[in-house]
């Protein structure tokens, strides 16, 4: 399971909000993301920290269903990922 990288100009945008969902099972990381994405300004990035393997697939799938943008998923040294999502609307 490798990390999905997006174009460099997007990958460098620092997250405006980090949601710590480490240790939480899906769908909880998605529920937390849906609840809080509107806290950041339009086009800002939310980073979801998650280590449930389902989140790796489900956060990008949520973005597709909800018309937000999955920017990239970075592997964390301690396991899990920082999954970056850009608020589109």
């Amino acid at each position: 399971m490798s990390s999905r990288q997006a174009p460099a100009e997007e990958a460098v945008q620092p997250p405006a909000l980090t949601i710590d969902a480490l240790g939480k099972k899906c769908p909880i990381p998605i529920i937390m993301l849906a609840e809080r994405i509107n806290e950041v300004p339009l086009n800002a990035v939310v980073s979801v920290l998650a280590d449930d393997p389902a989140a790796f697939t489900d956060v990008p799938a949520w973005c597709r269903l909800k018309s937000h943008r999955h920017v990239a998923s970075h592997e964390l040294p301690e396991g899990g990922w920082a999954i970056h999502v850009r608020r589109n609307y």
Binding site: P27, I30, T57, D58
Partner: protein, 378 residues
Amino acid sequence: MAYFDAASTEPLHPRAREALVAALDAGWADPARLYGPARRARMLLEQAREEIAEVLGARPDEVSFTASGTQAVHLGVLGALAGRRRAGRRLVVSAVEHSSVLHAAGVHERDGGEVAPVGVGRTGMVDPAEFGAAVAAEGTALACLQSANHEVGTVQPVAEAAEACAAAGVPLLVDAAQTAGRLPVPAGWSVLTASAHKWGGPAGVGVLAVRKGTRWRSPLPEDDRERRRVPGFENVPAVVAAAAALRAMAAESAREGERLSALVDRIRSEVPRLVPDVEVIGDPVARVPHIVTFSCLYVEGEALLTELDRAGFAVSSGSSCTASTLRPSHVLEAMGVLTHGNVRVSLPRGASAADVDRFLALLPETVRRIREEAGVRS
């Protein structure tokens, strides 16, 4: 209880029950021996073989019976690889094959072989061109492609894959577990596997067909049974029942498949209309008649299955919380679709429109309640 889990196992067909009871009395003896009861058992076994071969589009001498569909796949994959060892050690599989194929591939890999998975698109279908390119690579010993996916019902382009395999001189193993008895078997296979309990036969009977001219060597210690392909005493009564079920299912399949497919279409169109934040997954057109899968955002699959069970519906899920491995379904992962809140509805023969309507009436409130308990604001 409305049983909507035919993709796990189809209830025993009435024809199979009758045949099983009769064959328990008539077919108990050792079919390899040379006395009256043995000859009778052998005759029953060979007649069942002919009937099953005919429905599956094989010759009787190409068909062997195994203890399960999983064993048929294990023997099919490992035996074809062993037979092609001199040609190479590369095994091509679609990323959404049944776990029995992937586990056999794992054995091959641990044994020093190479496994090349071919990805799928959003609907779970392999791209024939991509599959063909993977098969054409140097040293490919075997390719595996399911007739249809067991979790989302998408039918795979087996005929095109078979053409690519034939052009490259690579044998193709087709796992037809989800379609045998329901859809015609696609042409072009070199090894075909199936499972009787998926078509309304009893458990304990798998089919391994090896096309004449395909190199195959048993990965297990051999004995004289089943043309040296499958060791162990044949379960003649169960094989006879499996043949009766397959003939009956195949004969009914055109009409019953159409009826079930209309119910599946109804679920496919109604669920997103009735339940907010739902994704119906799998190909809407190139699909088996009886399977429909959808995922509900913000819902734990296990909670949904438990609630549906309480309401009298038996369904299955590919969500990780319902799997023994605690990993999401490799099929849903490969498709890039939601893995949580997943429900697979697979309609058995005779599933009633009234039960489907009851399911559709109950689902929206069930999902709403689970979301509310999880603190999801709608």
